[in-house]
Amino acid sequence: MEKHQLQYETVRFNLNGRDVERTVDVRASLTDMLRNDFRMTSVKKGCEVGECGACTVLIDGETFNSCIYLAVWAQGKHIRTLEGVLGPDGQLSDVQQAFVEEAAIQCGFCTPGFVLTAEEILETGQEYTDEQLRKLLSGHLCRCTGYENILRAVKKAMYRRLGKEPPQ
């Protein structure tokens, strides 16, 4: 069998607010690079084909499945993982706090992806209906929660940010 010609590229990007660079195998996915080179355990592998959402990261503010994104494409991007959501002294973000309060966490494997997407949603500063939130969160699969408490958590964080009381 023909031997693969090793091909590496140096990628410079901003990861959770810090400029970083790594020389990576061009065959690596962004999931591979974040998990293997940066040891970001929040980026989970659930299907590797963009169907479960467990590997979600924010690229220039938008949610992407990092499993179907080549690591070299990170060049020049701003990438945010769940590790970047936590405060400097380990404080939970309001979204994370709401997940804890609403018992929205069970096995915890889909949780990081959901929290990141919720962060993206709430950063718009808009108020969404339940149906809109369901759609915005629908790129993540969860087998433990039935999505119910996740919805409650995201709503709770949304209303807190908006400074509003949730409607009854």
Binding site: M1, R27, R35, K44, V49, V100, I105, G108, R143
Partner: protein, 764 residues
């Protein structure tokens, strides 16, 4: 004084999980691990004649290629059951690490061990397998016929097991004049657990022993199976179970731990990892048994059940795994749920060339409830009785005692749960209002109940061990063999420990990871047994620890033990309530005493010889768009009596998850097989229709709390019960809406199209 049990304590693992720091199997594996990939058969049945590995071995980066001709000649069982010392009750040993007799499309025939995953994948594609193909069979009843392909040599007509129940005389009783006969066949599908973390494990040798870190629910059982499969003394194997991303029964089986462990031994004990892809999870792990059930009921016009017959055919797939226990559980529920004097039940578990079926949330009860509760509504339709009234008249009454398990129904769970659900959904009014609708879009409501029992006594061993170790500051670590798999038992246990020992919850530290070298023996997470079974050993161990603490307190304070208590982490003199010292001071003094230094620990095993019914019901409301062949679930309410709630918020969350799984079971999920090849067609999360965020209404969970008298904490099963009754409730709601009785699930648009055409609701 109970303080923590019954409170909505925050999950002990919440912070680590919500920050992404919690470590799952792959997070713990060194990046230098060799990669193991499995070569799966591309035929459904036959023999491997030869395997040419030369091209695969030539792929750069490949370390070793091993085949079914290389593995030890040992057949082993995989089911996550406690071992039985009685050979007659041991699980069926019917597979090897890799198999020459290939029994399903996707069976394991060879492995590649390589430096990286790309090399491993390239080598897999380069393996040439030569087969002798045999005819295959995918249907359980077809597999039982004479002349059907023989799948496991020792089992004639592919029947793994048959069991029956006989009460009274069915044949005589059904002759009574004036009876109405209701008969139906009900089919349930092969579905998969779909935990978001695929099963994976890694293995290496250390100090001459094999260590496997695995995403499993049952570390102590896996240790035994790995040792059996490799022909090792059990003590030569060590299993470590970190956090796992869901299990739902799939990981209540030894999956690839034995093969992974063996691969490590074949490369000099080097670190190797075997991670299942999603496709492998669907095909080459375990699935839920597809069961076809035939029910005949003879009923008087007033709704009295006179004679009933049930036949259930359970599709085991290629290997025995959990085997007959699954359909047998459902069959045994049948005469209990609606007691009837004359009953004939038979169930068969049958090998076919489908993927092996194992444990899955509900363990035969979702199948039995789909059949049984659909059939009840078919009876109601036939005799013109309301589904609620019929159930009130016929369901298991308070005081019922099962002859075999000695389970007793201590409270009126069914009626109380139905009352609550009915009120929440406004069921009775809607049921009437939705009769006889016309038009393309119609609504309906449906009801179904479920039977469940906690844990596995007396069918097999029930025991739990617990260890508690006191720290210098008065806090403690505790361990059990029962595992956290997402359901929240670490938290519920911590609450129990706090109350039982008499310390604040913040001073309770659970050792979440099970390591068979150090974790006390326990068989793991299954059978909805955690809070019930674990409760016994926690209560007992806490008692032992308290006795030691109070004895030491007596030495340190010179007060008699009878006048001492441990309350909220303080040693208290009972007579006047004075705090004599903190538990921390006591522990520190005890550890560092120059006269009698002692660490303070306790460890006990509780054997549990009881079991508890855990009942409830589901109410569903649907909207059916007939021309579009679509069901929209508008509301779903589950009501449970699982005894006293240890943590109401986590209990509610458990119920949501089970309801969600059952919605998929009822409406969308099924593995589809290619009739020409036996291959699974939809082995991915796009084609397998797991419910998404947009496929659910708001899920409504409610409880009736009748404390279970046999449990130290008044608790009983809740993990699996929520998945048992929603599917038939949805089915019965569609019946209410359209008058069309569906006899299989999932009730997809494809099924509705056929059924609505048959019923004349849509014309071409």
């Amino acid at each position: 004084m109970s303080k923590q049990v019954g409170e909505n304590a925050v999950r002990v693992d919440a912070y680590d999980k919500v920050t992404g720091r919690a470590k799952y199997t792959d997070d713990l594996c060194d990046r230098g691990a060799l990669v193991v990939k499995v070569c799966h058969s591309t035929i459904a049945h036959g023999f491997v004649k030869a395997i040419d590995t030369s091209e695969a071995e030539a792929v750069p980066g490949v370390v070793k290629v091993l085949t079914c001709f290389d593995v030890p000649d040992i057949e082993f069982p995989t089911a996550g059951h406690p071992w039985s010392t009685d050979p007659a009750h041991q699980d069926v040993a019917d597979r090897k690490l890799l198999n020459r007799h290939v029994r399903y499309y996707g069976d394991d025939v060879a492995v590649v061990i390589a430096e990286d995953e790309v090399a491993a994948a390239q080598a897999l594609r380069a393996i040439r397998v030569e087969y002798e193909e045999l005819p295959f069979v995918l249907d359980a009843q077809e597999a039982m016929r004479e002349g059907a392909p023989q799948i496991q040599e020792r089992y004639k007509n592919n029947i793994l097991a048959h069991s029956d129940v006989r009460r009274g005389n069915y044949e005589t009783a059904r002759q009574e004049p004036g009876l109405i006969k209701v008969e139906g066949w009900y089919d349930t599908p092969t579905v998969q657990h779909c935990h978001i973390e695929n099963h994976g494990c890694f293995a290496y040798k250390e100090a001459g022993r094999v260590v496997v870190v695995s995403s499993t629910q049952i570390p102590h059982i896996v240790r035994r199976v790995v040792a059996q499969a490799l022909g090792l003394p059990w003590g030569k194997v060590r299993i470590i179970k970190p956090y796992i991303g869901g299990g739902f029964g799939n990981k209540q089986d030894a999956l690839y731990e034995p093969l992974c462990a063996w691969c490590s031994t074949q490369v000099g004990g080097r670190l190797v990892k075997l991670e299942c892809s999603r496709e492998e999870t669907f095909v080459s792990n375990r699935v839920r048994h597809a069961i076809r059930t035939h029910i005949i009921s003879y009923v008087r016009p007033d709704g009295t059940l006179v004679a009933r017959k049930l036949e259930a055919f359970s599709n085991q797939g290629a290997y025995a795994s959990h085997g007959h226990g699954v359909v047998a559980k459902g069959m045994n529920a049948f005469p209990q749920l609606y007691p009837c004097p004359n009953v004939e039940c038979d169930s068969w578990t049958v090998y076919t060339n489908r993927p092996a079926a194992g444990a899955m949330r509900g363990y035969g009860i979702p199948q039995a409830m789909f059949a049984g509760e659909s059939h009840i509504d078919d009876i109601c339709k036939a005799i013109g009785m309301s589904p609620l009234e019929f159930r009130r008249k016929n369901l298991m009454p308070v005081g019922y005692v099962d002859g075999f398990s000695k389970n007793e129904l201590y409270s009126d769970s069914f009626n109380q749960c139905m009352d609550k659900g009915m009120e929440l959904l406004d069921y009775q009014r809607k049921y009437q209002a939705y009769q006889n609708q016309t038009g393309p879009v119609r609504r309906g409501v449906g009801l179904a109940v479920f039977w469940y029992n906690t844990a596995v006594w007396p069918i097999s061993l029930e025991s739990s061990s617990c260890r508690m170790v006191l720290n210098q500051d008065g806090s403690l670590q505790f361990q059990t063999g029962e595992t956290e798999i997402g359901q929240g038992c670490d938290t519920a246990y911590s609450q129990m420990v706090a109350d039982a020992v008499g310390i604040p919850l913040s001073d309770v530290h659970v050792v979440s990871t099970q390591d068979t070298d150090v974790t006390p023996f326990g068989t793991g997470a299954y059978a909805s047994r955690q809070t019930y079974i674990g409760g016994f050993s926690i209560a007992q161990t806490a008692q032992a620890l308290r006795e030691r603490i109070l004895n030491i307190a007596h030495e340190q304070t010179r007060m008699p033990v009878s006048n001492l208590d441990l309350v909220d982490g303080q040693i208290v003199r009972k007579s006047d309530g004075r705090i004599l010292k903190s538990l921390g001071d006591l522990a520190t003094e005890s550890l560092y005493s120059l006269e009698s230094s002692r660490h303070i620990t306790a460890e006990t095993t509780a054997q549990i010889k009881s079991n508890a019914y855990s009942f409830g019901c589901s109410f569903a409301e649907v909207e059916v768009d007939i021309p579009m062949c679509r069901v929209k679930l508008l509301r779903l309410v589950n009501v449970h009596d699982c005894g006293r709630l240890i943590n109401p918020a986590l209990a509610e969350a458990q119920v949501h998850g089970g309801m969600s799984m059952a919605i998929g079971y009822g409406l969308s999920e099924e593995l589809k097989f290619d009739p020409k090849t036996g291959r699974v067609l939809n082995d991915n999360l796009l084609d397998y229709k797991l419910s998404t965020f947009l496929d659910h209404p708001a899920l409504e969970a409610a409880f009736v709390e009748n404390p279970e008298p046999t449990s130290p904490y008044g608790t009983k099963a809740l993990g699996e019960p929520p998945a048992c009754s929603p599917a038939p409730a949805i089915r019965n709601a569609i019946l209410n809406a359209t008058g069309v009785a569906i006899d299989s699930c999932p009730i997809t648009p494809h099924i509705l199209y056929r059924k609505f055409r048959e019923a004349g609701l849509i014309q071409e």
